[in-house]
C-alpha cells in the first residue's frame, strides 16, 4: 500500500527507476558484505539463498495473502531437479540451474491448478499435504534414482570463471541471483500484476466482480513463486554439493513462515531482514540457548499478538511518522517566522 505513491512519483521524474534501483542494490550488497567478515563467506551465502526463498514465499503470503505450509516442496524439487540433472545428464551448472527452476515451475503450474482454488487454512493444509507426498516420493518410491535417505553428491563442472566449488565465486553468484530476484520482484510487485495480487489479498470477490480472471493471476503467481523457490533449491544444492530429502522436510516449513513474519510480510526488504534474522537465530541461538524451539514459539506468539508488521514494518512506520511530523511542523514554523 505504501508502494502506490512511490510508483506515482516515478512517472513524474524522467529516469528515476534506475537511480532508485541502484540505491537498493548498493544497500543490499553493502549489507551482506558488511556481515560477511563477522560471520563467514559460506554462512552468508547460505543466508542469501534463504533470503531468495523467503522472497518467493513472500510473493505468495505477503503479496497474495495465501499462507503456504509446504513451500519447501518447491525448494526441494529445485534441488533435486538440478542435482539429478548434473548427476545423470550434464555437469553444466547454468543448465542445471535452469533445469531446477523449470522443474519447480512446472510442478507449480501443475499443482497450482488444484491448490490455487483453495484459500486460507485449506491452502496451507493442501500445500502441507503435497509437501508430504513429495517428501515421501523422494524418500521411498523413487529410491532408485534419488538414493533415498542418503541423498547424493552434486559436483558441477567448471564453466569459464564460474567454479562453484570456490567459496567467493559462489558468494558472488548467489549475490547476483539475489539482486536479480530482488529487481524482478520489485518491478513485478509495482506493476499492474502486483497490484492485482494485492487486490486479491484484500478482497478476491470484488476483483472477480470487476471482471478479472483471478484464477489466472493466482495460478501464475503460484507457479512463479514455485520457480523462484526452485532457484533457491538449485543454489542450495550447488552450495552444499549434495542433496538429501531434508531439503523438503515437512517439519522445517515453520522456518520460512517465521522469517517472513519477523521481517514483515508484504515488503521485499522485510523478507531480506527476516531471512537474515531467522538464519542468525537458527544458526547461533542453539549454541547459547538449548531450548531454542521454545524461544521460536514465544517469539511467534509475540509477533502475532503485538508486532504484526515485523521488524521492517516497524522501521517503516517509525520513518513515516518521522516524515509526517516534519511535514506537519514546517507550515507551523513558517507561520511562526512570519
Amino acid at each position: 500500500m505504501n508502494k502506490a505513491p512511490a510508483s506515482h512519483a516515478n512517472h513524474l521524474n524522467a529516469n528515476p527507476m534506475k537511480e532508485h534501483g541502484f540505491i537498493d542494490f548498493l544497500v543490499i550488497t553493502g549489507g551482506f558484505l558488511l556481515i560477511t567478515p563477522i560471520l563467514s563467506v559460506h554462512r552468508v551465502t547460505d543466508f542469501m539463498i534463504f533470503c531468495i526463498f523467503v522472497m518467493s514465499f513472500d510473493l505468495m503470503y505477503g503479496y497474495m495473502g495465501r499462507l503456504s505450509f509446504g513451500h519447501l516442496l518447491f525448494l526441494g524439487t529445485g534441488a533435486y531437479g538440478s542435482g539429478l540433472f548434473i548427476r545423470y545428464i550434464s555437469g553444466n551448472p547454468l543448465l542445471a540451474i535452469l533445469a531446477g527452476i523449470a522443474v519447480a515451475g512446472l510442478l507449480g503450474m501443475l499443482l497450482g491448478l488444484i491448490i490455487v482454488r483453495t484459500t486460507g487454512a485449506c491452502f496451507a493444509l493442501i500445500n502441507l499435504a503435497f509437501n508430504h507426498i513429495g517428501f515421501f516420493l523422494v524418500l521411498s518410491p523413487l529410491r532408485q534414482i534419488t538414493r533415498g535417505e542418503d541423498g547424493f553428491g552434486v559436483s558441477a563442472s567448471t564453466l569459464g570463471f564460474l567454479n562453484f566449488s570456490s567459496r567467493p565465486i559462489m558468494f558472488g553468484f548467489v549475490l547476483f541471483c539475489l539482486l536479480l530476484v530482488f529487481y524482478l520482484l520489485k518491478r513485478l510487485t509495482s506493476s499492474p500484476f502486483g497490484i492485482m495480487l494485492r487486490s486479491i489479498k484484500e478482497d478476491e470477490t470484488r476483483v472477480r466482480f470487476l471482471g478479472y480472471n483471478t484464477f489466472l493471476y493466482k495460478w501464475l503467481n503460484f507457479a512463479l513463486a514455485g520457480s523462484l523457490a526452485g532457484l533457491a533449491g538449485t543454489l542450495t544444492a550447488l552450495n552444499y554439493n549434495y542433496v538429501n530429502p531434508n531439503a523438503m522436510d515437512v517439519h522445517s516449513n515453520v522456518g520460512v513462515v517465521f522469517a517472513s513474519l519477523i521481517g514483515g510480510a508484504g515488503t521485499l526488504y522485510g523478507a531480506l531482514v527476516g531471512g537474515v534474522v531467522y538464519m542468525v537465530i537458527s544458526n547461533f541461538l542453539p549454541i547459547y540457548i538449548h531450548r531454542w524451539e521454545m524461544f521460536l514459539g514465544f517469539s511467534l506468539l509475540i509477533i502475532t499478538f503485538r508486532f504484526r508488521k515485523g521488524v521492517w514494518g516497524y522501521i517503516l512506520s517509525l520513518w513515516e511518522s518521522g516524515i509526517k511530523k516534519r511535514l506537519l511542523r514546517r507550515p507551523t514554523e513558517e507561520v511562526a517566522n512570519r
Partner: protein, 277 residues
Amino acid sequence: MIYTIVYGFTIGAILYFISIGLSLTFGTMRVINFAHTLTYTMGVYALITLVALFKGYFALVATLSIIVVIPISYVIERFIIRRLYGESLDYTFIATFAISLIGVDAIKWIWGVNPYPMSDPIGKYLMFWGLSLPIYRILIVMIAILLFLALNSFFKKTIVGKIVVAALEDKDGVRCLGINVDKYFSIVFVLGSALAALGGVLYAPISSIHPYMGLSILLLSFAVVIVGGMGNLNGTFLSAFSLGMVMAITARYWSQGAETMVFIVMAIVLIFRPIDI
C-alpha cells in the same frame, strides 16, 4: 483380510477421536487448531508417567491422564485462542503452531527425545474361526462407536450441546439471544482436547511414543476433517473410518504408502469439492 479390516477400524477410531475436536473448534470458533498436537502428546506423556506409578490399572491411568490434559487445554483456550476470535486464519494457524512448538519443546525438556516403548495393556487375543484378534483393538473400536452415540445424544439432548450446534450454524444469532458464546466455546475446546488426549492414550500402546508423534497424526486428522466437512459431526465420523480403511488397505499392499494415500484422497476431494474457508 479380517486383520486389515480390524486394523482399519482401529486407525479410523483413533482418527475420529482426534479429528472431532478439530472439527468442532473449526466449526464454532473458526480456529485451525494446531495446538491439538500438544494436547494429544501431553495425554500420552501423562500416561507413561502415571503407568509407572500405578502398574496394572490401565483404565484408571488413562482416565487420570485425560483429566491432566483438561486444565492445560483450558489455559491454552483462555489465554491464546480466545484472543484470536475473528482474526484472519493465518494468524490463528501461526499462533497455535507456536503453542505446539513451545509445548513439544517442553516435553522434550521434561521427558527427553528418546522414544518410549509401551506394550499392549490387555495382551489377550480373541479367538474365533481360527483367527486371533487383539482384544485391545476391538475395544478401541467399541469405545469410538460408543463415543459417537454419546456425542450425538449430547448434541441433540442437552442444552449445552444444542447451544453448540446452534453456534456451529450461526454464531451471531446465538449471541443475539443473550447467550455467552465464549463460555460454550471454551467447553467445546476443552472437550475436543480431552478427546484428542483420549485418542493419544488409546493409540500410545500400539504406536511409537516420541515428542513429535502428534504432528503426523494431526496431518491425517486434518485430512479427515477436510474430507468429512468442517464442523460436520456425522461427516467426520464417516470420513475417519473410511480414511482409516484406506490406510489399512494401502498398508497391506504397500506399507510405506499408507499416509500418502490419505493425502491423495484428500487432494482428490478438494479438487471436486473445494472448501472456501
